[in-house]
């Protein structure tokens, strides 16, 4: 099926509008969600303060650099929350309920649709912006030594990290096509990404290699921050992140094709 770029943009727009309607239906939960994320950020900042009241440096990071790292960690979290995890969970549900039949029968690029089905932009921006601003205000920007080139490379690495992490988690959801359930396996993949308070430099040797190339959890936040702060070689990091992302995008595509071949509709 031939699908133009315009079709895909229209599909994204429709999904985003639909998500907005769903998100704004629950008033109390919306504000409680903001409170929850704000408390998370406040406790993280308190955590950093407590750690640095005992130590001067953590994995070579000063307190200010650690706040910058937390900022990127949160940016990574909110970006992921906008498009990644919720869509994979929806896909697991749609396979189990047989709703995927409907998606497959429509003239849509099915993989694209299940990847971007729910764009939770409004709620995440509402939750994210105040918290990101709060962290940004705490950072002493004069002590962040970087350059425009490093920031640009860092942002590309960040995008690569988001994509590779999405593909990795997507692969963990595919067992639903074979055994009818994958929620627990999918949750394990999420736990593997719970590295958000340890900078890249805290991972050494083979542990770092594994958490970049096999489990791409360190690319989006850790590697991009390390590059922006001039602690890692930017070109080498860029090449690694692009390479890992390309491999994971291919794996996702191949995994999807194999999974669909094994799909036996739950509703038929």
């Amino acid at each position: 099926m031939f699908v133009t770029l315009k079709d895909r943009v229209n599909l994204l727009q429709t999904n985003a509008v639909n998500s907005y309607r769903v998100q704004t239906a629950y008033f109390f939960e919306n504000w409680a969600s903001l409170a929850s994320t704000t408390f998370y950020v406040l406790t993280m900042l308190l955590f950093i303060k407590i750690i640095y009241s005992n130590v001067n440096s953590f994995a070579g990071y000063t307190e200010n650099e650690m706040f910058f790292f937390i900022l990127f960690g949160q940016l990574n979290f909110y970006t992921d929350w906008i498009w990644n995890t919720n869509n994979i969970l929806s896909m697991i549900d749609s396979v189990r309920s047989g709703e995927l039949d409907l998606i497959l029968s429509k003239p849509l690029p099915s993989l694209f649709f299940v990847t971007f089905r729910d764009i939770s932009l409004v709620n995440r921006v509402k939750d994210g912006i105040p918290n990101l601003l709060l962290i940004a205000l705490i950072i002493n920007w004069r002590d962040i030594h970087t350059s425009l080139g490093l920031v640009l490379i860092g942002l590309i690495i960040f995008i690569c990290g988001q994509l590779s992490w999405h593909c990795f988690r997507f692969l963990f959801a595919l067992p639903v096509f074979f055994i009818g359930q994958s929620s627990q396996i999918f949750q394990i993949s999420g736990t593997l990404g719970a590295t958000n308070d340890i900078p890249l430099e805290g991972f050494t040797g083979s542990l770092r290699t594994v958490f970049i190339s096999i489990i791409p959890a360190l690319i989006a936040a850790q590697m991009s921050v390390s590059v922006i702060l001039g602690k890692s070689d930017p070109i080498q990091s860029l090449i690694i992140s692009v390479l890992v992302t390309t491999i994971f995008l291919i794996l996702k595509q191949v995994g999807w094709i194999i999974a669909l071949k094994n799909y036996s509709s739950a509703s038929s």
Partner: protein
């Protein structure tokens, strides 16, 4: 009592009907523990004078075990109550001639047997890595654990009660989880807190959930500080249990009973 034991047994058998869930849970716990240990390993590598690595690993093993053994982790019992209120299934229990809170709690802990087994293993591992220097602490530790379980149950009931007033109360539980994680000493032992924050945290119920029992077990001696921790634990256990039960009875009067 036998009735509640039967409820416990039923949930126990139900839990073991899903071995993959138990395996996945264990893997997740081990990964989380691994990251926590890695975090402190990184700190101890660059600051070797601050603490010994064995001590800090033992602290987190015992601290996690306490949270799991007393079911205080993440306010899950409270979340379950909230779900029952939201879905209306609470009505099914209200019409039965049982003490509903005891019934739900027995059912909840019965379904957490794998967590308990994991917690017992980590507790013994923590004790093995950093054995208590004072034998008396081995006697005081179970008492403090009991106070933690009661205080934790009280907090969970309060979290559940929020569900009576707002069906969309999931995020409130998350707020509790974030605050509790740091102030209970689950992320950083309270002894490393700056004095002001430590003093404030000490008089909240949060350290009862993890730091007090852990430090009672690992302290080198039994002194005034030990009994202060035990006294505060007892105080919060009584206050939270009594007030949560009163609040529960009041909240039930506001229950609309969706699903009846």
């Amino acid at each position: 009592m036998k009735f509640y034991l039967d409820i416990f047994k039923f949930s126990f058998l139900e839990e073991f009907a899903y071995p993959v869930e138990i395996l996945a849970f264990t893997i997740r716990k081990l990964i989380n523990l691994g990251f926590l240990i890695l975090f402190w390993f990184v700190i101890s590598s660059s600051n070797p004078k601050l603490f010994t690595f064995e001590h800090i690993v033992a602290y987190f093993l015992v601290s996690e075990a306490i949270q799991d053994l007393t079911f205080t982790t993440g306010g899950r019992f409270g979340r379950d109550i909230q779900k029952m209120i939201k879905s209306g299934t609470l009505s099914n229990y209200l019409v039965k001639p049982v003490n509903i809170l005891r019934f739900l709690y027995a059912s909840f802990i019965g379904g957490r047997t794998s967590v308990t087994i994991y917690a017992v293993i980590t507790l013994f591992l923590g004790i093995f890595l950093y054995p208590p220097k004072e034998p008396m602490t081995l006697l005081l530790f179970p008492i403090s654990l009991l106070f933690t379980a009661i205080a934790g149950a009280g907090i969970n009931i309060f979290l559940g009660i929020v569900g009576f007033y707002s069906p969309e109360a999931g995020s409130i539980k998350n707020v509790y989880e974030h605050v509790s994680k740091i102030l209970s000493g689950a992320l950083v032992p309270l002894s490393y807190f700056p004095a002001v924050i430590k003093n404030i945290a000490t008089f909240t119920p949060f350290p009862v959930l993890s730091y007090f029992p852990t430090s009672i077990l690992q302290e080198g001696q039994v002194n005034h500080d030990t009994f202060l921790k035990l006294g505060l634990s007892a105080f919060w256990a009584v206050v939270l249990l009594v007030t949560s039960n009163i609040a529960w009875k009041r909240a039930l009067r506001n229950y609309d009973g969706v699903g009846i």
